[in-house]
């Protein structure tokens, strides 16, 4: 059932379940969907209602930003369905290399690998209504991509697209009709009650000042990459570090896929690096560095989209079409705008903390210091150099860099509003916040379902991986019960 907690419970009430999930976005709802039929009584706590919150409620997300400018409130959807209410549907699993420890990227490497998630990626694709889980770039765009041979340093990769699935519309009925699932609306979690490493209950408040206690055997924080670390940071006391912060990583390594437009590429005229209907659903090819180039040039992972634009007058297409100048183009060339989607490196200085100011629910507001490390920018320069030399030496075209990187010009970079990294997954409690099962270290029964557990970010939009990890966690929770 789906209920307004203000009507379902009396002020001060305590309710008990087997599992409580804080957050009804793609992660929280995927867990609830996967636990149907398990016999477990599940409560999902949604801070908002069924519709977009009003301005007062959005003010709960106000916070302080230092470092690079970052819109803390943007892209956060405090109502049933969470960010699925406005996401664009871009889907792609992380690359194999994203899971690996790369000696040129400090703190890289997941404690789980591509194979550990393969099954869950397939199940996530069903939840997200993606037509296929085949991400091999195999002639999907005909000849309308750059011929990236294995020695080129580049490869073509594929994004697929969810419709996009709006979880509230798509799955409300499934949760409403499930006898063991209760979704409480207007139920904002404001505290985690615990002792001896065991969470006993979550404190819930409403904007009207009503309060409740929700007890359970297992607890999952699925409130997004900013609210999850915020809730955990609130468990700190004068004598004891916050849950998961035994080694000081909680809130650190905040990452976002940052965008950067460096210039243009003149190359074959018939490229299709844009979204189109493929043979098995909507797809979009992107250009990305090969694993060997990443290793050789010590690059972060990236992808590049190309959008056809007007030629410029300095070196127009007809100049490059002169015989002998670009024999890999068949003489028909065009100018494309390059857009980079960059993987950030984990950076301890990019972090979330709590300010002393409190919001209307009594929670301390967030303080974000977003930083992009200098090696990230150097990596971009090396990538672009490799791109320019490749297209030139392969007779495929020419690079035009019109916006060289200027670390002082912060307006060059824009965040993708993918909040990642602040509750890092690790095998080692000294190097992370959650273990490979997404359980908060030093707790028995507190889990995280969020992109905040990503130790590294790759370049792929995170929703598919968030849902895959959530479904994997749901399976783990079922096993815990038995």
């Amino acid at each position: 059932m789906i209920e307004d907690i203000r009507q379902a419970l009396d002020d001060g009430d305590t309710a008990s379940f087997d599992i409580v999930v804080a957050g009804a976005g793609p992660a929280g709802m995927s867990i609830a969907l996967a636990l149907r039929g398990s016999g477990l009584r599940v409560a999902v706590l949604e801070a908002g209602g069924r519709t977009h919150p009003d301005a007062d409620e959005l003010r709960l997300y106000d916070g302080e930003v230092t470092g690079l400018p970052y819109p803390l409130g943007a892209s956060r959807q405090r109502f049933f369905g969470g960010t699925s209410n406005h996401w664009g549907g871009w889907c792609r699993p992380l690359d194999a290399i994203d899971f690996q420890a790369r000696d040129w990227i400090p703190m890289s490497g997941w404690p789980i690998g591509e194979d550990d998630l393969a099954e869950w990626y397939r199940k996530a694709a069903e939840i997200l209504e993606i037509g296929s889980s085949d991400y091999k770039f195999d002639g999907h765009a005909g000849g309308h991509v750059l011929p990236a041979r294995s020695d080129s340093g580049f490869r073509n990769q594929l994004f697929r697209f969810s419709p996009p699935t709006r979880f509230a519309q798509r799955y409300a009925e499934a949760l409403e009709s499930d006898p063991d699932t209760t979704v409480f609306l207007h139920a904002a979690v404001t505290g985690i009650e615990h002792d001896n490493g065991r969470v006993r209950s979550l404190s819930v408040r409403t904007l009207e000042g009503l309060s409740y206690s929700i007890r359970a055997q297992q607890f999952v924080l699925a409130a997004g990459g900013l609210e999850v670390p915020r809730l955990l940071l609130h468990t700190e006391s004068a004598s004891v570090p916050a849950l998961g912060n035994q080694s000081g990583w909680l809130g650190r390594c905040f990452m976002d896929h940052f965008g950067y437009f460096p210039g243009y590429l003149m190359t074959r005229a018939d490229l299709r690096y844009h979204q189109f209907e493929g043979r098995d659903g909507e797809i979009m090819p992107v250009l990305a560095p090969s694993e060997s180039l990443m290793a050789r040039e010590r690059l972060n992972n990236f992808c590049i989209t190309l959008t056809a634009v007007e030629p410029d007058s300095v070196w127009p297409p007809e100049a490059l079409a002169t015989p002998g100048l670009a024999r890999g183009t068949d003489g028909e060339v065009w100018r494309y705008r390059l857009q980079l989607i960059n993987e950030p490196r984990p950076n301890q200085d990019s972090r979330l903390t709590l300010s002393d100011e409190r919001d209307e629910l009594g929670l301390r507001r967030l303080q974000l210091h977003w930083a992009i490390a200098e090696p990230d920018l150097e990596s971009i320069e090396r990538l672009l150099e490799a791109l320019g030399l490749w297209v030139g030496s392969a007779g495929l075209g020419r690079l035009q860099l019109t916006r060289p990187i200027n670390p002082e010009n912060t307006e060059q970079f824009s965040g993708g509003l993918h909040h990642m990294g602040t509750t890092r997954m690790s095998r080692d409690p000294d190097r992370g916040v959650v273990d490979p099962d997404c359980r908060v270290f030093d707790t028995d029964n507190l889990y995280v379902a969020s992109s905040s557990v990503f130790p590294t970010a790759g370049y792929a939009n995170p929703t598919l991986t968030i849902v895959a990890l959530a479904l994997r966690l749901a399976e783990h929770l079922r096993g815990e019960r038995t």
């Binding site: 977009h52 009003d54 301005a55 959005l58 003010r59 400018p69 970052y70 819109p71 409130g73 943007a74 406005h86 210039g263 243009y264 005229a269 018939d270 189109f276 056809a308 007007e310 030629p311 410029d312 007058s313 300095v314 070196w315 127009p316 297409p317 007809e318 100049a319 079409a321 002169t322 015989p323 002998g324 100048l325 024999r327 003489g331 028909e332 065009w334 320069e381 150099e385 320019g388 030399l389 030139g392 030496s393 392969a394 007779g395 020419r398 690079l399 035009q400 860099l401 019109t402």
Partner: protein, 348 residues
């Protein structure tokens, strides 16, 4: 960057324009000839190379691009070779420039030194004035056939409403042609250029909001042009007949244009004498009790039905104090019916 050997030319203001022609891929000397003859013919036939060529000559006073090219390509200028062999040699040399990072950088372009010298030879042969191209553009382009159009869908539209056709997504124009057109062609409609998506049997074009708004403001018939910016050629490929809308069952006509569409957080837009921000919405018909609703907040609204204009003030700056996307709708307070206008963006 550190490894690259750049020859950076900094000649500012070199924003001359290049032009093309249908001959830009021909212009070769098919018969065997001496290397020097091939080189001269190729350089002479280059198009759009004037900016780089002039920059090279300005930066390298006394440069003899032809001699330098012959030396670079290590050929006897008097040997006769096939044209294709000559082009092959040139291609290898250009590609080797990139491998050796012998690159010229100008206005951001990374070009091979060899091709820059070739551009310089083009200018040297034709002279600075002769090599200056004409201004390109749709208006300046010549009329001529680009494709043979068999049919077009849709052929008509209701003014201010989305283009619809049973077999197509909304706002897509589709043309069947006798052969696949090149992807570089653009459809020009009421001054708006839209890229085409070409297929084996024709092409389609998705019209954006700006093009649709321009169509809604047009006369009874809109000309549809295909434009080849490389060949500088254009062809009228069809027309779109506009019918007057009757309004939907709720009495709303779809808005044909509106603004402002974005602001920065807290920054008033379309500022009124009282300091408040304001929206304007053009719609050919709307109910008498229409109000503008911004993010579920009803705004003080002024209706000018004769002008097809609705304006609404936002006296409270907190309404746009926070970054995000906010829905704008028209609401008929009598019936409760609503008509979507669009989403307003508040940037950080």
């Amino acid at each position: 960057m550190k490894r690259r050997r750049f020859l950076a030319l900094t000649g500012g203001g070199l924003l001359l324009v290049g032009t093309g022609g249908l001959l830009w891929r021909v212009g070769s000397a098919p018969e065997p000839a001496t290397f020097g003859v091939h080189l001269g013919a190729l350089a002479r036939d280059m198009s759009g190379a004037a900016v780089i060529g002039r920059a090279w000559l300005n930066a390298n006073e006394g440069s003899e691009p032809k001699r330098e090219l012959i030396e670079e390509l290590a050929l006897d200028p008097n040997d006769e070779i096939e044209y294709d062999t000559f082009v092959e040699r040139l291609a290898q040399r250009v590609e080797r420039d990139f491998e050796a990072q012998a690159i010229l950088e100008h206005d951001g372009w990374w070009l091979s030194e060899t091709e820059a010298r070739l551009a310089a030879l083009h200018v040297a042969l034709l002279g600075f004035e002769a090599s200056e191209p004409a201004e390109p553009g749709f208006e300046q382009s010549r009329e001529g056939r680009l494709v043979r159009v068999r049919d077009q869908n849709p052929g008509s539209a209701k003014r201010g409403e989305p283009l619809t056709h049973p077999t197509l997504p909304d706002n897509v124009l589709s043309f069947r042609t006798s052969r696949r057109p090149p992807n570089r062609l653009m459809l020009v409609v009421e001054g708006h250029q839209r890229p085409i998506s070409a297929g084996a049997e024709g092409f389609s074009v998705t019209l954006n909001d700006a093009a649709l708004a321009a169509i809604a403001r047009a006369g009874d018939e809109v000309d549809l042009w295909l434009y080849d910016p490389v060949a500088q050629r254009r062809q009228m490929v069809g027309t779109l007949l506009l019918e007057e809308p009757a309004g939907n069952e709720d009495g709303f006509c779809k808005p044909t244009d509106w603004g402002a569409r974005a602001t920065r957080a807290g920054e008033a837009f379309n500022e009124q004498p009282d300091g408040s921000a304001a929206f304007w919405i053009q719609a050919r018909c709307f109910p008498e009790q229409t109000v503008v609703v911004f993010d579920n907040v009803e705004l003080p609204t002024t209706l000018q039905p004769d002008e097809g204009l609705i304006t609404a003030r936002l006296p409270d700056p907190t309404l746009y104090a926070r970054p995000g996307e906010y829905r704008i709708e028209l609401l008929d307070r009598d019936s409760g019916a609503a008509q979507l206008v669009g989403d307003f963006t508040v940037h950080e």
